[in-house]
Amino acid sequence: MNLFWEGYAWPTIVIVAQIIAMIVPLLVAVAYLTYAERKVIAAMQMRKGPNVVGPFGLLQPLADGVKLLFKETILPAGANRVVFILAPVLTFSLAMVAWSVIPVDEGWAIADINVGILFLFAISSLGVYGVIMAGWASNSKYPFLGALRSAAQMVSYEVSMGFVIITVLLCVGSLNLTDIVLAQRNVWFCVPLLPMFVIFFISTLAETNRAPFDLPEGESELVAGYFVEYSAMAFALFFLGEYANMILMSGMTTILFLGGWLPPLGFAPFTWIPGPIWFFAKVALVLFLFLWVRATFPRYRYDQLMRLGWKVFLPFSLLWVVVTAGALLAFGWLPK
C-alpha cells in the first residue's frame, strides 16, 4: 500500500498538479493575448479597441469564449468526420504539450529533459499536421489551398529555424533548455548572434502563420484559409492553438536568445526581481513584436515568401553556422 502510494499515486498527483499549474496560466495568457492584440493594434491605428465588456473591455475574451462555446458546431456534409474533428484537437493539444519542457525559472520545468530543444523543434514541426488535416478533411477548395500553402511555408521556414538552433547549440554545447539559458549568464545570445536572432524571429512569424506571412488564411483570396469550414468550439480550438503557439515561439525566442529567466544585468536592483517575472516580461516583449509586425506590415506575396525562405534565409543561416563554428574553433571558445 505504502509502495503504491509513494511509488505511483503521489508522483501522479504531483505531475498532474504541475500540468495544471502550467496550463491554466497559459490559457489565461492566451485569452488575454487576443485582448492585447486588439488593444495594441487599436492603439497603433488610433482607435479604442474593445472597451465595452467590463472595465477597459477586460472581460471581452471571456465574452468571446462564451459566445463560441454556445454556437452550433457544423460538420460539412462532404467532410471526413474523424479527421475533421481531429485536426483542431491536434493543433490545440500540440501547442499545450510543448510547454512541458519550457523552464520558467531554474528547475521550474515539468520535464527538464536532455534533448529539450529537439523536443520543442519536433513538436513545432508537427503543427503543420493540424493545418493539413483541416484543409483536406474539409473537402472544399479554399481550405485545401490554404493547407497546401501552409504546409509548404511551414516546412520551408523550419529548415532555417533548424540552422539557427544549431548555431545556438554550438555556443552552448548542450540540448538541454536549462543549460542553454545558463550559458547566457555573461551575455545574451541576441548580442553575439544578432543576425540569427532576427532570422529566428521572422521564421517564427512564418511558422505560426502570423502576419505578414499569414497566407494560409489570407482573407482576400481564401476567405479564411484552412479553417473556413470550422465553426464554434472547433474554430475556437484553432484560434487558441494559434495564440498558444505564438506564446510558445516567444518563449523559445526568450530561451534561445534573450537569456530566459536571467536578469539583464547580474547585480542588485535587477536580481531582486524573481526569474519567472523576467521570463514573462521577455515573452511579453516578443509577443508585442508579433502584434507590432501585424499592425505594420502588408502581407507577403507567396513567391516572395518562398524566395525569402529558401534563397535568403537558408544560405545566410548556413553561412552563419559555418562562421560561428569557425570562430568558436579558432578562438578556442568551444564549450566543454
Binding site: 485545401f144 516546412v155 540540448l175
Partner: protein, 204 residues
C-alpha cells in the same frame, strides 16, 4: 518497472495496430496518418530504451518532414480504389518475398544473439555507460570520431542523389516572366516616369 512495461506494451500495441492499418485502410490519406501514428509510437519506444536523441530525430525527420511530403502528394492524387485492388494482387508475390527476406534477416539477428551472446559486443564499439555521457554525445563520438569518412561519404552520396533528382525533374519553360527585385529597386524616377504635355483634344 510496471509503468515502463505498461508503456512499452501500449506503444508496441498501438504501433503494430497502426502499421496494420497503414496497409489495410482504404483511404490513402488515412494510411499516411496511421503511418505517422506508427512513427510516433516508435519514437515512444526509443524513449523507453533511453535513446531520446534518436526518438526526437525520428519525429523531426520522419514525422515533421518526410510524412508531410507523403501527405502532400497523396492528398492531391486522385486515387481509384478499384485500380489499387487490382494492383495489390499483381504485386503481392514481390511484396511477400520482400517481407519474407526481412523476416528471415530479423530471425538471423535474433539467432546470433541466442547462439553467441558475445558476438554482438565484439563487432561494434564499446558503448559508454549512459550515466556518464548523454546519448547525443555518444552518437556524436561514434559518428564524428570513428566513422567520420564514412559519414562524409554518406553525405556526399545524398548530395549526388539530390542533384540527380533535381536534374531529372527540372523543366525549363519558355516565356516565364521572373521578378528581379534588384532591378525593380534600382529603378529611378526619370527612367520610370515620363512627363508629357498633352494638349486637350489630341491624344499622346
Amino acid at each position: 518497472m510496471i509503468v515502463q512495461a505498461l508503456a512499452f506494451y501500449l506503444f508496441a500495441a498501438i504501433m503494430v495496430a497502426s502499421a496494420v492499418m497503414v496497409i489495410s485502410s482504404r483511404n490513402p490519406v488515412h494510411s499516411v496518418l496511421f503511418l505517422i501514428l506508427a512513427f510516433f509510437n516508435a519514437a515512444g519506444l526509443f524513449v523507453l530504451l533511453g535513446a531520446e536523441f534518436l526518438a526526437m530525430i525520428l519525429v523531426v525527420v520522419y514525422v515533421g518532414a518526410v510524412a508531410v511530403l507523403f501527405l502532400f502528394v497523396v492528398m492531391m492524387l486522385d486515387v481509384n480504389i478499384a485500380e489499387l485492388r487490382h494492383g495489390f494482387l499483381q504485386y503481392l508475390p514481390i511484396g511477400a518475398l520482400i517481407g519474407l527476406i526481412l523476416l528471415v534477416e530479423l530471425g538471423m539477428v535474433a539467432g546470433a544473439w541466442v547462439i553467441s551472446p558475445g558476438a554482438g559486443a565484439a563487432a561494434h564499439l564499446p558503448i559508454p555507460p549512459p550515466d556518464q555521457v548523454t546519448n547525443t554525445a555518444a552518437l556524436g563520438h561514434v559518428l564524428y570520431d570513428h566513422y567520420v569518412y564514412l559519414f562524409q561519404s554518406a553525405g556526399l552520396i545524398l548530395l549526388v542523389a539530390m542533384v540527380g533528382a533535381i536534374v531529372l525533374t527540372l523543366r525549363q519553360r519558355e516565356g516565364v516572366r521572373r521578378q528581379s527585385i534588384a532591378r525593380q529597386i534600382s529603378r529611378r524616377r526619370d527612367e520610370a516616369i515620363e512627363v508629357k504635355d498633352v494638349t486637350s483634344g489630341s491624344g499622346v
